[in-house]
């Protein structure tokens, strides 16, 4: 098996079809465990009361919003440098899921901010840069569909994704670089400032979100492959599965 075996759309189509259900199941199991630990087992927070439980959605969504963008930009860079079709298709498949997580992070942040800070929204550096991320995703999706020739859409959107990557360190370090209303990270390389049960729930939810993102993008990339390759011999010979 050579290195480029799975970079052929036809083999990857079949592989994705086999893997996606497994990742969906993993996501469901991890989410069930995370919700149980987070909503049933985890203790009430000393300062914020019950409302802190928003972190079990908010933090994984925010992490995934950045991580998916990074992966998408990597695929975009591969699509541009190696002119590989599958990389561009993967970037396309990731964008809507990334946008969804970004939206959820912003939304849950608003409904967390209201009871804790006293406001739904402030224009501080962390929140503004996360909103920019949402518009980068939307711009990526729009650009990739804006051309009749899909490969041109690939190139334009890939370029945008690479430029937009400067926003990621801005989001992540905004709470250190500038005065923000948003608090610093609870989890650092040096350790976490979080009770262990709360941390367990948050990590379970993060892995659930991760598995879900993989499953959703695998399903989506299959649709993208089918649409793009519908004139190819292998698609015509494909039994409807």
């Amino acid at each position: 098996m050579n290195f480029f075996y799975f970079s052929s759309p036809s083999t990857f189509f079949r592989l994705a079809g086999r893997l996606a259900p497994a990742f969906f199941i993993l996501a469901a199991v991890l989410a069930a465990a995370g919700l149980y630990v987070g909503l049933v087992q985890a203790p009430t927070d000393a300062v914020q009361g019950e409302v802190y439980r928003v972190i079990f959605i908010h933090v994984p969504a925010a992490w995934m919003s950045m991580f998916i963008y990074f992966v998408m930009a990597c695929y975009g860079a591969m699509a541009l440098t190696f002119n590989s079709r599958l990389s561009a298709m993967m970037a396309r498949a990731l964008a809507p899921t990334g946008a969804m997580f970004t939206f959820v992070a912003l939304w849950t942040g608003a409904f967390w901010g209201r009871p804790t800070w006293g406001t739904y929204w402030v224009w501080d550096a962390r929140i503004t840069s996360e909103l920019v991320l949402l518009f980068l995703y939307l711009g990526f999706i729009a650009l990739s569909n804006a051309f009749e020739e899909p490969r041109r859409g690939d190139r334009a959107a890939s370029l945008l994704s690479i430029i937009g990557i400067v926003n990621l360190p801005i989001i992540y370090f905004s709470v250190q670089w500038w005065n923000t209303l948003h608090q610093g990270s609870s989890i650092k390389l040096t350790g976490s400032s979080m009770h262990v049960t709360m941390l367990t729930a948050m990590l379970l939810m993060t892995f659930a979100a991760w598995m879900y993102a993989i499953a959703a993008s695998l399903v989506r990339v299959r649709s993208v492959i089918l649409e793009r390759e519908r004139r190819a011999r292998w698609v015509r010979d494909l039994g409807r599965t």
């Binding site: 009871p115 804790t116 800070w117 006293g118 402030v122 518009f135 939307l138 009770h195």
Partner: protein
């Protein structure tokens, strides 16, 4: 929808999304990167004199006082080096407490009193059950400082 109108719609959507992103970035660079000023920065005249701005710090322990109308509160915001007296009329957020982080928007009067129009609580990155928080407090661990330690004076421990 015809393919051409569809494409035009996507192009418009793309331009709109990128336009909003760029506008947000420019706006942020103009005013919002500094979300608040610390009392030390205010003392050094780094904060704007003529327009409203935000100050951030800890509510100094023992400084909170209510006027007789029960809606006007006075307290001091400190970054442990400098303090600014603040007066505010209105409802305080739930997490507003002495010794906790706060961000106040308003104007600095000529008398040096900050007249706040909006008060936001700033919470820290610590999450723990009440029992653990009590234990920390008894041990004399200043967990409340976390709200601002994350910012200017990153703990190097």
């Amino acid at each position: 929808m015809k393919p051409r109108t569809k494409r035009a719609a996507w192009i418009m959507a793309g331009i709109a999304a990128l336009g909003v992103a760029v506008a947000l970035v420019l706006n942020a660079f103009q005013s919002n990167l500094v979300f608040f000023f610390t009392p030390t920065q205010v003392a050094a005249n780094e904060a704007p004199r003529d327009r409203a701005f935000r100050i951030g710090g800890l509510v100094e322990a023992g400084s909170l006082a209510r006027d007789s109308d029960a809606l006007t509160v006075r307290f001091k915001v400190t970054d442990t080096a400098r303090t600014i007296p603040v007066v505010y009329t209105g409802i305080l957020p739930d997490l507003f407490k002495e010794g906790k982080g706060v961000v106040a928007q308003g104007k600095l009067g000529p008398d040096g009193v900050f007249r706040a129009s909006e008060i936001l609580a700033k919470h820290d990155e610590n999450y723990m059950p009440p029992a653990a928080a009590d234990a920390l407090k008894k041990a004399g661990h200043p967990m409340d400082k976390g709200a601002f330690a994350g910012q200017k004076t990153e703990k190097k421990s």
